[in-house]
């Protein structure tokens, strides 16, 4: 490399500023304005102290959950802006350059994929797990509250790296998968791929700790009587997802870590020459990557299960089969990774084995769909927004599942590999499957978290825009894929493709309306929160324990921890008229004190990442020192808890 690296600033120089394209420059301005605007508003309102003690240093799982979801929603907007920009480009770029230079287009699909998976879907899921699972199992908090805060802050640090790459330097052009040898330093010098590596590595560490935290929480902190087979489905799926995290994320760390070593220290894990083996990267990446899609979608399945039972006013049909299906999917998810590179040249027999394994996953998934359908059968269905999203999911998901089975057939895969058929397939899974699930969860549990409903009319509007927008945006891509259109095309010369791409752009515009409706919904609901207030704590006639407490719940969650005697015990108690028993409570409870360890670790992690991206080694070391120092310091803190005395007489907070 001929790059100039200075001791103080590494390879950071004036050319890091985004003057290479007016679009990138505007993006940087918007990002900066967003950041500065936020700081200004907090200062203007004089809320720094409240923000610091109430949120940033909080270790309350409910606060952390909300922060995760705020992060996810912000990143959803950013990821969507990327998406609609790509759609506009492709709608315009028949036999022309469109409005985006090639290098910038490549950055956009890379950042879109990375953001949507790592900084939208993952935080959204983690946020919902955080808020809901302790409430569903009758726990006062997660097993390791401070670790939980650390996880959040590492995720936020990764998202911070991702966002700052728009302002200082450039992002990767190697797609969300970062395949070598292209992502190696020989073909892609510069900081882009390093930003990609470090943002997902820093947040990945946080995610791994989340996985550990929730397995311990779910297995060790359940209320008395909450046997495994009495746990709500969302908790079950959260458990399976967390187990997958523990086993899958190391593969991502190894893959990206080795890529970083190749790029930074000139090693030869994945290079063309000197004994590198780039196929090994594909293996490592997808050993993580396939379980990852189940990490994301299993909790969404859990949400659909809760929503479908509640809004059909019926007990969940086939609960044990849902539990077993979830577990089977979790196990099988580790046996199919090779279907992402059937075309790599493994033998036909290997491809056949992985193809069949992939199709087998459709079986437990199908079981789930039937369970949900039977739950609705003869139920008294209430079409509230969460239920709308669930029904939309059930209709669309079947299409995505069938295209998935098609892709799992190696000979078909050979002709659809790397086409927009694949793009259509996985968006068909992640939008109706993952995102609709999380949005349903957001609308379902919002009244629990804030004590007032989200406006249902705007919720329904958002749903219809998302549904129709999705169909228009992605059904054409199936056709385009069959017509042979490769993914990641900046420009093309085939006139037949353009009309379909214009339809896809219109679909993206409708999705934009869906997002606008979500924003308006939030705005309107906050404005009319008095009228939308939930005074009961149980606004939907719910079945699980989180509905047994006031909305929002007190810091310590349960005034008295309930004793569980059956599945859906709360629902049972509500209708049989005999209230649930509870564990006798001491007069005072202990809740964990706030801690600065989380923000310190996040700050340290950010500095490590930023330093490693730009070769500012003193900064990376300083960041590491802050992080390690924070951990050591924490070991010396004696008073980690404070006492609270719940007023057992009064029901409200």
């Amino acid at each position: 490399m001929t790059e100039h690296v200075s001791l103080l600033l590494g390879r950071l120089g004036p050319d890091a500023l985004p003057f290479y394209s007016w679009v990138a420059f505007s993006g940087a301005l918007v990002t900066l304005a967003g950041g500065v605007g936020f700081l200004a508003v907090v200062t203007w309102l004089g809320q720094w102290r409240a923000l610091w003690t109430g949120w940033l240093t909080s270790v309350d799982h409910k606060r952390i959950g909300i922060m995760y979801i705020v992060l996810a929603l912000v990143m959803l907007v950013r990821g969507f802006v990327d998406a609609i920009m790509m759609r506009l480009q492709q709608a315009l770029s028949y036999n022309s350059d469109g409005y985006l230079p090639p290098e910038h287009f490549e950055q956009i699909f890379s950042s879109h994929g990375t953001i949507m998976i790592f900084f939208m879907a993952m935080p959204f899921m983690t946020g919902l797990l955080n808020y809901i699972i302790p409430l569903q199992i009758g726990a006062r908090d997660v097993a390791f509250p401070v670790l939980n805060a650390i996880s959040f802050w590492l995720t936020a640090a990764g998202a911070g790296l991702m966002l700052i790459s728009l302002v200082i330097g450039r992002f990767s052009t190697a797609g969300w998968t970062g395949y070598p040898p292209y992502s190696g330093v020989e073909f892609t010098p510069g900081v882009g791929v390093d930003y990609w590596i470090w943002s997902i590595m820093v947040s990945g560490v946080g995610t791994t700790m989340t996985g550990i935290n929730f397995v311990v929480t779910i297995l060790r902190k359940r209320a008395p009587g909450m046997l495994l087979m009495r746990m709500p489905m969302f908790t079950w799926t959260g458990l399976c997802s967390s187990i997958l995290i523990i086993f899958a994320f190391p593969a991502l760390t190894v893959a990206t870590g080795m890529l970083a070593l190749d790029r930074t220290l000139g090693m030869h894990f994945f290079t063309n020459d000197a004994g590198g083996n780039m196929m090994n990267y594909m293996n490592l990446f997808w050993i993580w990557g396939h379980p990852e899609v189940y990490i994301l979608i299993l909790p969404a399945f859990g949400i659909f299960s809760e929503v479908v039972a509640t809004f059909s006013s019926k007990r969940l049909f086939g609960y044990p089969s849902l539990v077993y299906a979830t577990a089977v999917i979790a196990i099988l998810s580790f046996t199919v990774w090779l279907h992402h590179f059937f075309t790599m040249g493994a033998s036909a027999n290997v491809n056949a084995v992985f193809g069949i394994a992939t199709m087998v996953i459709a079986v437990p998934t199908g079981v789930k769909v039937f369970d949900w359908l039977f739950t609705m059968f003869r139920g008294r269905i209430r079409f509230e927004p969460p239920m709308l999203y669930t029904i939309g999911f059930m209709c669309l998901f079947v299409i995505g599942g069938m295209s998935g089975v098609l892709l799992a057939i190696p000979p078909i895969n050979y002709s659809t590999h790397n086409t927009t058929f694949l793009v259509a397939h996985f968006h068909n899974m992640v939008i109706p499957g993952v995102l609709f699930g999380y949005l349903a969860g957001y609308m379902y549990w919002f009244p629990k978290a804030f004590g007032f409903h989200l406006d249902p009319t705007w919720g329904a509007r958002s749903f219809w825009f998302w549904l129709i927008g999705f169909l228009l945006a992605f059904m054409p891509l199936y056709l385009l894929g069959l017509m042979g259109m490769p993914r990641r095309m900046e420009t093309y010369g085939n006139a037949e493709w353009q009309p379909l791409l214009i339809v896809a752009f219109i679909g993206a515009c409708l999705i934009l309306m869906g997002i606008v409706c979500l924003v308006i919904q939030l705005w309107v609901s906050i404005k009319y929160r008095r009228a939308l207030r939930d005074t009961t704590g149980d606004p939907w006639d719910g079945r699980t324990l989180e509905w047994s407490m006031p909305s929002p719940p007190p810091e310590w969650n349960f005034d008295a921890v309930p004793v569980v005697t059956t599945r859906d015990a709360f629902h049972e108690a509500k209708y049989s008229g005999t209230p649930m028993k509870s564990v006798p409570q001491p007069g005072t409870l202990h809740v964990p004190r706030n801690s600065v360890v989380g923000p310190c670790m996040g700050f340290g992690g950010f500095c490590v990442g930023f330093g490693a991206v730009w070769f500012i080694w003193w900064l990376a070391l300083a960041g590491l020192a802050v992080a390690v120092g924070a951990l050591i310091g924490r070991a010396f803190v004696q008073n980690t808890e404070r006492e609270v005395a719940p007023d057992l007489g009064a029901k409200t907070t």
Binding site: A143, V216, K221, I246, M267, A274, G275
Partner: protein, 195 residues
């Protein structure tokens, strides 16, 4: 009341311990994947030196000896702490640290020697995998040392209690885990070169 708070402490301890086992499992997956990568790359010498040309059996023997003995000393530290002999535990921890540091010094010396000889990690796929595997283990040992030093300070500064003991027992687990990984390195990376 004391009994109740003891029970709470105990429950917290068992949760922490369980969580730590999960972490070790995750770490074991990490090491397995690096081992697998090493196996894939073990013949990718790219015309550069291989293990047989580089490894020094004496160095390896001393390194392994140091680490194995340190596993014994940390077990003694844990044993002493369980028996309430805090000072003795601290002494054993110091011995463990010295042994661990000795291991690291030998390792760093060996690796620097390779680099000077032109057999650095950028020489071939094989050497990349070798340096990364051994280096990852070495980084874990370093983290263990920092942890042990923190505990030594804590045994002298703070009141010994169940929390300290729980930390020590987790460190002991961690240390044994690193020993097992090293046995893997020893038998899969080094040993075949001497046979």
């Amino acid at each position: 009341m004391i009994a109740a708070s003891d029970a709470v402490e105990e429950q917290i301890d068992s949760e922490t311990e369980f969580g730590f086992w999960l972490y070790l499992m995750s770490d074991a997956v990490l090491f397995s994947l690096i081992f697998a990568t090493f196996a894939v790359m073990s013949t990718n010498l790219a015309g550069g030196p291989g293990g047989a040309d580089l490894f020094d059996i004496k160095n390896l023997a001393v390194q392994t000896g140091l680490l194995l003995i340190s596993s014994l000393t940390i077990a003694l530290a844990h044993h002493a702490a369980v028996g309430g002999h805090v000072a003795r535990a601290a002494v054993w921890l110091v011995v463990t640290c010295i042994l661990g540091a000795g291991f690291l010094v030998l390792e760093v010396r060996e690796l620097t020697e390779f680099v000077v000889k032109g057999a650095g990690p950028d020489r071939s796929g094989y050497l990349s995998a070798f340096f990364t595997l051994v280096g990852t283990h070495g980084l874990h040992v370093t983290a263990g040392l920092i942890w042990a030093l923190t505990l030594i300070v804590q045994t002298t500064l703070t009141q010994p209690g169940p929390r300290l003991l729980s930390r020590l027992s987790r460190l002991t687990l961690f240390w044994h885990f690193l020993d097992i990984v090293w046995i893997g390195v020893f038998s899969l990376v080094y040993l075949p070169e001497f046979l």
